[in-house]
């Protein structure tokens, strides 16, 4: 569990200043958007700070409204650091979609895309079938041209010698 609530952690740290004791989280000058909105002290160990900079408060407001801060923190903590930025981005995206469409959210978008995909597959199959027919007809026409061209040459040859 990497996330530590800075408002409570201090009281659990032993007062002896042994060099082996874990260092206390240091408060940052400019709190992240999450800590500012949740009215918490933001520290250098804040698990949300890298993904919710103070310059973009709306991202956290929307993600918090849809998923809740504790669920966002839990999701982030359950992932390796290399995947966290993508996870937060996808949660912000989903939250935005849910705000725009509170009934269907991303599920609605997925359903619409599936329908479009299905329509396109039908159209592609029909076009491919039409192409196959036209290519078959072209093959037959080619054979007719070769035959007629050959007959023409033969007739010309015949009329020349008769």
């Amino acid at each position: 569990m990497e996330y530590t609530d800075p408002t409570t952690t201090g009281s659990t740290i032993p007062s002896s200043s042994s060099s082996l004791a874990p260092s206390l989280p240091t408060a940052v000058q400019r709190p992240c958007a999450a800590c500012k909105i949740l009215r918490r002290r933001c520290t250098d160990r804040c698990v949300l700070a890298p993904y919710f900079p103070p310059t973009e408060p709306f991202n956290f407001i929307i993600a918090h409204r849809v998923f809740g801060a504790s669920n966002i923190i839990k999701s982030v903590q359950d992932l390796p650091e290399s995947r966290r930025a993508d996870a937060v981005s996808s949660m912000i995206y989903e939250a935005n979609v849910r705000m725009c469409d509170p009934v269907y959210g991303c599920a609605g978008a997925i359903s619409q895309l599936h329908k479009q995909l299905c329509d396109l597959q039908t159209e592609l199959a029909a076009t491919q079938a039409e192409l196959a027919i036209v290519q078959c007809q072209q093959q037959q026409l080619n054979e007719s041209v070769i035959f007629l061209d050959g007959s023409n040459s033969a007739s010309a040859w015949e009329s020349h010698w008769n």
Copy 2:
């Protein structure tokens, strides 16, 4: 606000049994999945009961893990009754996708579908272009066949009379 917490509502209701006083929520025999998991008394006024029957506890467990019970309740309450079932279904769907893909969730599915759609559109455009070319070639071949067929008839006519 239709949802009332049955554990606290009782204390706020006036004790006088006036006919104008709102009736107390009645506890149900079989609590819904949400109330059972949240260890709350389920009543006939439970806003989640119609969408989380006791027979399907996993739907609530997953939706609660991703969105949180309070956010689900808020989302449901903000919608007219006719849209609530769809909203809960879409939240259960999204929560399931997020559990399967904790990094990208539905956003990942949408991105994949967009890519498939784009690939299909490219394939359809290429097939349509190929069809247009083949149809043009077929037109030219048709004209050649008419011309050669005509010449053949003329040659046959000529050789017959000469």
